[in-house]
C-alpha cells in the first residue's frame, strides 16, 4: 500500500510541483500583508478553496477519462436553489431534501454519462446542452429562481467547527480520502486510468468501457449538487448564477493539479493543490486591488501555461 502511494507520487511529480506553487503563492501573500498568514485568513482561504475542490472531484474523474463536465454550474445552482426553495427557511426538511437534490444531481450526471458513453456524444457538447436545459428547468420550477434564504441549520453547519476544525475542511479531507482510495487503491480506479489512457486497449483487456465512462459524470453530478448545498449554507442564499464561476475554476484546478486533459493522467490530490492555488491567486490579486477582470485573465493564462507544460512533458517521455 505504501509502495503504491510512493509510486503514485513518483508518477505525479507535477502534483508535488503544484503544492510547491501553492506554497510560493502563500509566501507571496504573506510578504504583501502581515495578516495573510493569520489563522483566520488561512482558514478563509482554505474554505473558499474547498468549494472549488469539491466540484473538482467530479471534474477530475471526468477529465481522467478525457472528458469534461460543463453542466456543473447549473447542477450546483440547481441543488442550492432547490434546497432553499423546498426548505423555505426551516431546517426540519433538510434530512430528506439534501439526499434528494444530490440524487437529482446524480440523475443529471447519469444522462450526461449515458449520452457520452452510449451515444458517442462529445462531452463538451452534451454537458453544455445539459447546463442550459437544467438552468431552464430550474427557472421554470422556481419562476425566476428567487428563493428564500438558506435554512439556519445549514448555515450553522457550514460555518461551524467539528472537533476543533472547520466542518467544511473536514468534509473536504473526507472527500480527498475517498477519492484517493477510489483512484489509487480500487479496481475501479485502475479501470478509469486504463480507459483514459487508451480506450481501445482497455476494451481489449476486458474493461467494460462504456460502464466506466458513465460513472465520472454521475459522481460529478453528485459532487456539484453537494457543493451547491454547502455553498448555499456558506453564502446564506441561493441564486441561479451562483455556479457560473465553477465551470472554469473546476477545470483549471484539475489542469493546474497536473492532470492531462487528454485523460489517463492525474489525481484528485493534484486538484486539491489546484483549488488552493486558484484561491490564493484570487486572494493575491485582491490584495493588489485588481478585481474580477484580472482574475479572469490570469485563470486563462494559467490554464494555457499548465496544459502546455503538461503536454510537452508528456511528449518528451
Amino acid at each position: 500500500m505504501i509502495e503504491a502511494g510512493a509510486d503514485t507520487l513518483r508518477r505525479n511529480s507535477s502534483i508535488v510541483l503544484a503544492f510547491v506553487l501553492a506554497g510560493v503563492l502563500f509566501v507571496a501573500g504573506t510578504i504583501q500583508t502581515t495578516g495573510f498568514a493569520s489563522y483566520e485568513h488561512t482558514r478563509t482561504v482554505l474554505i473558499t478553496a474547498s468549494f472549488v475542490g469539491l466540484v473538482g472531484f467530479g471534474q477530475t474523474l471526468c477529465m481522467l477519462t478525457g472528458g469534461i463536465d460543463l453542466s456543473i454550474p447549473s447542477n450546483l445552482a440547481g441543488a442550492a436553489v432547490l434546497t432553499a426553495f423546498l426548505a423555505n427557511g426551516s431546517s426540519a426538511g433538510l434530512i430528506w431534501i439534501v439526499p434528494m437534490v444530490i440524487g437529482l444531481g446524480m440523475v443529471v450526471g447519469l444522462i450526461n454519462g449515458l449520452g457520452v458513453a452510449y451515444a458517442g456524444v462529445p462531452p463538451i457538447i452534451m454537458t453544455l446542452g445539459m447546463n442550459s436545459a437544467i438552468q431552464g428547468l430550474l427557472l421554470i420550477y422556481t419562476n425566476g429562481g428567487l428563493a428564500s434564504a438558506a435554512p439556519p441549520a445549514l448555515v450553522n453547519f457550514v460555518d461551524g467547527n467539528t472537533l476543533g476544525l472547520s466542518t467544511m475542511l473536514l468534509i473536504w479531507i473526507g472527500v480527498a480520502l475517498v477519492a484517493t482510495v477510489l483512484l489509487s487503491l480500487s479496481a475501479f480506479g485502475r479501470k478509469l486510468y486504463a480507459v483514459g489512457t487508451n480506450i481501445r486497449a482497455a476494451l481489449l483487456a476486458g474493461v467494460r468501457v462504456k460502464r466506466v465512462l458513465v460513472v465520472p459524470y454521475v459522481v460529478s453530478g453528485a459532487s456539484a449538487a453537494l457543493t451547491g448545498v454547502l455553498l448555499l449554507g456558506f453564502l446564506g442564499q441561493a441564486f441561479v448564477n451562483m455556479g457560473d464561476e465553477y465551470l472554469f475554476s473546476s477545470a483549471v484546478a484539475v489542469a493546474v493539479g497536473g492532470a492531462s486533459i487528454l485523460g489517463g493522467k492525474g489525481h484528485y490530490i493534484g486538484t486539491v493543490a489546484g483549488a488552493i492555488i486558484l484561491t490564493l491567486i484570487a486572494a493575491n490579486l485582491n490584495l493588489l486591488s485588481l478585481g474580477e477582470s484580472a482574475i479572469d485573465i490570469s485563470y486563462g493564462v494559467i490554464l494555457l501555461a499548465t496544459v502546455y507544460l503538461a503536454t510537452i512533458r508528456l511528449g518528451r517521455r
Partner: protein, 332 residues
C-alpha cells in the same frame, strides 16, 4: 476512420471529384431544414403574426444575423475537428470597445470598425497559432482565451452600458430595396458559403477534419489552414459583435457568452459533424434560424420565457445525440 475520395464534393487535395450521392450520413445536414419547417409551421398555425406581422421579418432576422455569423465561423472550426469557445470573449470585448473608445460619428467610424474587425482576426490568429503549433486541444485553447478576453472586456467596460455611435445604430437598421438589411446579410452569408464551399480552402479543412495525417501526406499545409480557419472565425465573431452592439445600442462585457452555446447549438442542429470533415455553413445558418425559432414558439404557446432556455438545451442534446448515433454508424 478511412477517407474515401468520394467523401468530397469540392476541389480537394485529391483533385476535383463528383459530388457524392445523398447517404444516411448526410441526413443530419438535411435535418436543419426539417427543424425550421416544423417549428416555423407550428408558430404559423398558433400565432401567424409572429412571423408575417409588420416588421416581424426584420426583427426576427436581426437576431439571426449575429448567430448566423458566429455559427458560420464555428462551422469552419468544427470542419477541422476543432471548436471555438472564444467567440464569446471576442464578442464581449468588441462590444465593450464599441460602447466606450470606438464610437465616433460619421465617416470616422469606418476606421474604428475596421480596427474591431482586425482585432477579431488577431484574436483568431492567436487561437489558430496555439492550436496549429502546440499540442494543446482547440477546446482548451479557446476556453482559456474566452476567459482572458472576457476579463479584458470587463476591464474596458465594467457594467453594461456605454455609448454606441449613432452612425452605427442607423447603418444597421432599416432596409435596402424594401427588404430589411438583416435579411440581406443572411442572403449574403448564404452566397458566401455557396462560393466558399467549392474552394480549395474548404476542401483542405474537410481533409484535415477527416484524417489529419492523411491530409498532411497529401500536402495540405495544416498549420496555415487551421490558422486561417480560426482567423475567419474571429473575424465573423467581431462582425457579429458590431451587429449586436448596433441593435442593442449598448455595450455588454459578458454579452458574448450566450453565443458560445448558441453557435455550437446552431452548428450541431445544422448537422455539421462533431467529428470533423463534414459540414455546411448554409446548414448552420438554417440551424441558427431553427434555434432562434424556439423562443418564438415558446411565446406562441404562451409559456414563460424560461421554457426557451430549457428547450434550447434540450434541442441541442437531442440533435447532438441523433447526429452522433448516425455519424458513429456511418464511420464504421
Amino acid at each position: 476512420m478511412s477517407v474515401s475520395p468520394e467523401a468530397f464534393g469540392p476541389r480537394t487535395p485529391f483533385g476535383r471529384v463528383p459530388r457524392p450521392r445523398f447517404g444516411v450520413a448526410d441526413l443530419p445536414l438535411a435535418m436543419a431544414y426539417v427543424y425550421v419547417a416544423v417549428i416555423a409551421g407550428a408558430v404559423f398555425i398558433l400565432e401567424p403574426a409572429l412571423l408575417d406581422g409588420s416588421g416581424a421579418m426584420g426583427a426576427n432576422f436581426s437576431l439571426v444575423v449575429p448567430l448566423a455569423l458566429v455559427a458560420f465561423g464555428q462551422t469552419l472550426a468544427m470542419l477541422t475537428r476543432g471548436i471555438d469557445l472564444s467567440v464569446g470573449g471576442v464578442i464581449s470585448l468588441s462590444s465593450a470597445l464599441l460602447a466606450t473608445h470606438l464610437n465616433a460619428r460619421g465617416w470616422l467610424l469606418l476606421p474604428e470598425l475596421l480596427a474591431i474587425v482586425a482585432l477579431g482576426v488577431l484574436i483568431g490568429c492567436l487561437n489558430g497559432l496555439m492550436i496549429a503549433f502546440t499540442p494543446i486541444q482547440p477546446f482548451i485553447v479557446t476556453l482559456a482565451t474566452w476567459s482572458i478576453w472576457d476579463g479584458v472586456a470587463f476591464g474596458v467596460l465594467p457594467i453594461e452600458g456605454g455609448t454606441v455611435s449613432p452612425t452605427l445604430v442607423k447603418a444597421a437598421s432599416g432596409g435596402f430595396l424594401r427588404v430589411p438589411k438583416s435579411v440581406w446579410v443572411v442572403v449574403l452569408l448564404l452566397l458566401l458559403w455557396r462560393w466558399l464551399r467549392a474552394t480549395r480552402f474548404i476542401g483542405d479543412l474537410v481533409a484535415i477534419g477527416s484524417d489529419e495525417s492523411r491530409a498532411r501526406l497529401l500536402g495540405v499545409r495544416i498549420g496555415r489552414r487551421k490558422l486561417q480557419a480560426y482567423a475567419a472565425t474571429g473575424l465573423l465573431a467581431a462582425l457579429a459583435s458590431i451587429w449586436v452592439t448596433a441593435q442593442t445600442q449598448a455595450g455588454s462585457p459578458d454579452g458574448g457568452d450566450q453565443f458560445i452555446l448558441n453557435s455550437v447549438a446552431a452548428v450541431v442542429i445544422g448537422g455539421t459533424s462533431i467529428f470533423g470533415g463534414k459540414g455546411s455553413a448554409a446548414s448552420s445558418i438554417m440551424g441558427s434560424i431553427a434555434f432562434l425559432l424556439i423562443p418564438i414558439l415558446v411565446f406562441a404557446l404562451n409559456l414563460s420565457s424560461f421554457w426557451s432556455i430549457f428547450l434550447e438545451g434540450l434541442v441541442l442534446i437531442v440533435a447532438v445525440t441523433f447526429n452522433s448515433i448516425i455519424q458513429t454508424r456511418a464511420r464504421r
